[in-house]
Subunit: 697 residues, 2 copies
């Protein structure tokens, strides 16, 4: 058997993957193929440099239940055909036999390298610098002969998806084995059409069990303080790696406010008393002659958390840019690549790349956003407010009723407004998600990342509003600091308990009792079955939920922490377990997700920064409401106008400080700036050089 | 005579310059040269393509009084030597004879084209697009064979200065004819050293009288509504052209606030009465039963001027970017060019361009700024405040004295504080300017533009503070709106009168009675004398004064206009004459200035934007102080706390609107963005291509 003979040679090339890989290979080649391809079951490659005995299965395609062998053969041929003939230039394997309903897809070296250039990935050049990868210059990049070292596993799998998604019909054609109505027109996106015809039901990247196990051991299994970010990037891609990097960075940066919060809680009598009140619910004894410091723990906490949030976000930007350099995503060429499959418009010449592709004017997109998206989002935000108003109104009515009747029925009625409100909020959120998706689709963004950012932005605004509307209402309208403190403490403790349960306990139980029995596959099962098993896992729900959790935390901390100084401590404890539970979740409980290379956190970066600005306003306002200052006002020591005036001046000063801080801390470290400028300089030089070359030739 | 014979051929090449040029040429060639060069008096060029009969005199060098013919010959040789031999690669003409104290410098085609590439200028490519000029691809750029069409006159003259400034000694050498102590060390900047030895006293670009006359006719002479911006750019360079473009744009954009201001002044009784008061100085009759609208003219004016200032600045950014595309300065390569002559540091390899040059770490520069520049600037701002405090204290004392004594002496004493304050302020400003210069020099900026921007920024902050400290003091501390209105009106009217006098009347008188007699040169005077005459004009004082005038105007309008609605009208009238007087000044009364190509207004852009943010704060505060609202407070219809709270909410809302507006209006028009992205794309492609080429060769 060929695969066995090669094992020795392979192990030198691909450390860590040889055992699992060898097995996959042997299984797949053992399954005699009925497809038109020859060799070990995989389709043939057109290019001599890509011929290799070892083919790594990357992506699993699940075919629809009614797809006949004729159609399957056509799809395999399409995947295997060279790109110049309208194919994807990939490798396809029909699985066990031509009738099975899966196709395993891999990619030859040339296709991967071309995709790496198209996506604008940077890789290590022979001189050790990161440079934009160029296919024609491939031999000068380090490890460019070994795809499993050169490209990360996430990149290879995303590239397969990228090639499949980019397939367009070169002429009108009919898919063999399907009904007459299933016709592909010229320039139709083939993959989307096959999906709508029911030919392709699912496209999922395959886990590599051995690598996954190694990754998990260095990540959530032990008590490591440092997360294996590079390996996360290798296995799950830079989007996921950026999330975990941020989680890591943010958790560490919680240390200073946690220490400050604890010392304030320990040393400040005021704060201790208030916290006891908020937990016990009863009013403790009044302030008994504590020295009347004007600067209370509240103020220290408020000013500190404002400065802290700015510094943290600025430092994160620097970290983020050095990570994106390290991972080769600093120079992504999404703008210059093919538009996303769903993008539509009239065919024309792209003024930037001079390629023929669908065009859609920026102006029209802005018009759609302004006239459709913004009003609709506003409407939903209005519905949230309406819901809250109705809830307060209902509660007041019900309490009145309860006072009047004082029966068991009226007592039960007391819960009705809350329940109705929760149901209403959840329904609204579900409807909104669908609406946001269609709105963003309607906006017709050219790039995948633009689409994602606009969708995330929409959902984000709504979710944030949903979470914080009540707190803002209490702080700004009711102006009731004790209630705010109570609400914040209960939200913090409750939401963390709920999160811990949903993120650790339930996943563990599911894994132990539901998934584990399914995983009881014998070692001798064909690889195809193992691949099929991966389909039984639910798809990864995306990072939105994880990010929003962090954002809400960050909001609690920076907006309201001055009323409850232990916030940071609670968050720190929570995040230390959060890191592990999130890691466990993504590794064990879901299918592996496809993630495109990303150069930063996208719209989340902006969300955190906006929050850190709002925090100045909120903290200054809470300072005005702080009990000690209010008491002074009541005692006539200070007019409330002067108090307000003081707060406004402090606020403006702090905003100024924030703006200056943000301007002074450069967004990228000096060495990255130099590298970037060097790339700019050389490409400028190259442009001049090239014009000459074109002239001469 | 050669020059005469060529006249016909020249006229086809250089429209508009033939008559003047022909004359210059004939004069210069008539003066038999004693220098080592041959031909028509100019030094020889090394490159065959640059040999031409017609040489345009660009720059005049004035030698020191004690410079002997030996030194002059050495300087001429240095200017004429090719760049690879350490010379400037320019053309030098010794003037009348070798003993005369001027050298006329011009530039051959190759040197100009190389400099155009080094500076990163964009020029029209054969396909009509603007592309970064590349020397090796010169033949594909339109008009690249005729320097007088291809490069603007300002560019050609700046390039001569650029080449001279960039001269560095290739080895230790002694300048012939100078004392032993005048030695050039290796890598010394020759031009700076020659200046310090007293060899070169002055370097000035030469006016082209014919072109200047044409430019003036289309600019300040007639009643044109549109300024000839392209011709200004051609003659004076993009810095000056940007100033006049902004002045033009800003003047037109004053129309809406002027119309609004007039209608408010016409329709609002309140405002009319207040304005009469502020002009007459006496208190007019009280408000007599005008319908108690809550929204007064003040509020409309305040909100309008906040939105207006944002929109104007955003639209200007768009205009600015299309102008810089039009003038080929969108892609300047200053970062990649040689550092400015004054830049010093340890020799090393520049990590961006990989050239050997002095290096100075960014971190050290920041340290110097933070530890030296910021405290010193702060100190001077403190001195301004101190001066103001002393002035108020002195005035109070003197008034007290006058009350006590009531004599003529005490009456005279009343003026002492004002006079002392004016003297103090002026002295401070003079000292500060010198200090700012040495601080910026100490910061050791690599690029000329960075140096200029930091210097301008420092002076700007101080000047602005100086102008507005009194107004802010009245508005925020004294909270005296009538005084503010009176002060603003008198400042506006006074400063405009003063400006008109200094900018129109005095220049005219000077030109008529002092300059004109000097200009009484006969047509037969040698050209050298005419050149020498240009030296008699004072050097152009720079655009700082012009910009600061606009900034202060903009400040009056956006910060305080709600107390005096006719501000915009007065400014509009002022600016219509300002355009003409500024144009007259730069054309007639000063030497032609050297200006490097610029892609925008630099630091002034930021200053205007910052001002437009401060305007929100100031306007909201003035709203709180507005008489009608204050009256309501006094009548008890509204608590002052609620009033303040309302103002704060309005302020935050308007800042939000401003931020959203600024984010929504793109900084560059769509077509420019596409062009820019296309350039980025092609240079990315070229980089990949070039690596391949390098490999193959």
């Amino acid at each position: 058997m060929k695969a066995g003979d090669d094992e020795g040679e392979q192990s030198s090339q691909q450390p860590g993957g040889e055992a699992a890989g060898g097995k996959v290979q042997s299984k797949l080649s053992a399954a005699a193929s009925a497809a038109s391809s020859s060799g070990s079951g995989w389709t043939k490659v057109s290019c001599p440099c890509c011929v290799s005995e070892w083919v790594e299965p990357l992506v699993l395609l699940k075919l629809g239940p009614k797809v006949g062998p004729e159609t399957k053969r056509w799809v395999i041929k399409l995947i295997g055909a060279p790109q110049k003939d309208g194919g994807a230039g990939l490798l396809a394997h029909p699985g066990e036999d031509a009738c099975g309903n899966i196709i395993v897809v891999s990619a030859p070296r040339c296709t991967l390298l071309r995709a790496a250039e198209e996506l604008g990935l940077c890789k290590t050049y022979e001189n050790g610098d990161m440079e934009a990868f160029s296919y024609s210059d491939r031999d000068n990049f380090k490890d460019s002969d070994n795809m499993e070292v050169f490209l990360t596993s996430a990149e290879r799998q995303y590239m397969v998806k990228y090639e499949l998604d980019g397939l367009r019909a070169q002429r009108d054609l009919r898919v063999p084995g399907l009904s007459e109505s299933c016709v592909l027109l010229k320039r139709d996106n083939i993959w989307r059409k096959l999906g709508s015809f029911g030919v392709i039901v699912d496209t999922l990247p395959l886990h590599n069990p051995k690598k996954l196990k190694e990754l998990g051991e260095g990540w959530y299994a032990g008590n490591q303080l440092v997360q294996p970010l590079d390996r996360i990037n290798e296995y799950f891609g830079s989007c996921v790696a950026f999330y975990f990097s941020f989680l890591d960075f943010y958790t560490w940066s919680l240390l200073p406010p946690a220490i400050l919060g604890m010392s304030i809680a320990y040393f400040s009598g005021d704060v201790q008393r208030e916290m006891v009140e908020s937990v016990s619910g009863s009013k403790a004894a009044e302030d008994q002659g504590e020295p009347g410091l004007v600067i209370s723990g509240h103020m220290v906490q408020a000013v500190f958390s404002m400065i802290w949030s700015t510094v943290v976000m600025e430092l994160w930007k620097r970290r983020s840019s050095s990570l994106s350099y390290r991972w080769g995503t600093m120079n992504l060429a999404e703008r210059f690549a093919e538009p996303r499959p769903e993008f539509h418009g009239e065919l024309g010449v792209n003024p930037v790349t001079r390629r023929v592709e669908p065009l859609f004017s920026e102006g029209q997109r802005h018009l759609r956003m302004a006239l459709v998206s913004v009003p609709v989002v506003g409407l939903f935000l209005g519905l949230v407010v309406l819901g809250m108003t109705c809830f307060y109104w209902g509660e007041a009515r019900v309490q009145q009723l309860h006072k009047d009747w004082d029966s068991l029925l009226s007592k039960a009625l007391l819960y009705v407004p809350s329940v109705l409100h929760i149901v209403y909020t959840n329904m609204l959120a579900t409807v909104y998600k669908t609406v946001a998706q269609s709105l963003t689709e309607y906006e017709n963004h050219r790039e995948e990342s633009a689409y994602e950012n606009h969708l995330t932005g929409k959902v984000l605004v709504f979710t944030f509003f949903n979470y914080f509307a009540v707190l803002f209402h209490i702080a700004f309208f009711k102006q009731d600091v004790p209630l705010l403190r109570k609400r914040l403490a209960s939200l913090l403790i409750m939401s963390q308990l709920v999160n811990q349960v949903t993120e650790i306990v339930i996943p563990y139980l599911v894994d132990r009792f539901i998934s584990a029995p399914n995983r009881m596959e014998s070692e001798d099962d064909p690889e195809e079955d193992k691949f099929r098993n991966q389909r039984s896992l639910p798809p990864f729900p995306g990072l939105f939920g994880e990010y929003i959790e962090l954002l809400v935390q960050f909001g609690y901390l920076s907006l309201f922490s001055c009323v409850f100084p232990l916030t940071a401590v609670l968050l720190l404890l929570n995040n230390l377990t959060e890191i592990r539970s999130d890691a466990y979740k993504i590794c064990k409980l879901f299918r592996k997700p496809f993630y495109p290379p990303a150069s930063d956190m996208g719209v989340w970066q902006i969300a955190f920064e906006v929050l850190s600005f709002v925090s100045v306003v909120s903290n200054c306002w809470l300072l005005v409401l702080s009990p000690r200052l209010q008491k002074k006002c009541q005692d006539g020591e200070m007019s409330s106008t002067n108090l307000l005036l003081g707060a406004v001046i402090v606020e403006h000063f702090l905003i100024l400080v924030k703006v200056i801080l943000a301007a002074l801390i450069p967004d990228e470290p000096g060495w990255i700036r130099k590298k970037r400028e060097h790339i700019e300089y050389t490409s400028m030089q190259a442009l001049k050089h090239q014009k000459l070359q074109t002239e001469e030739s």
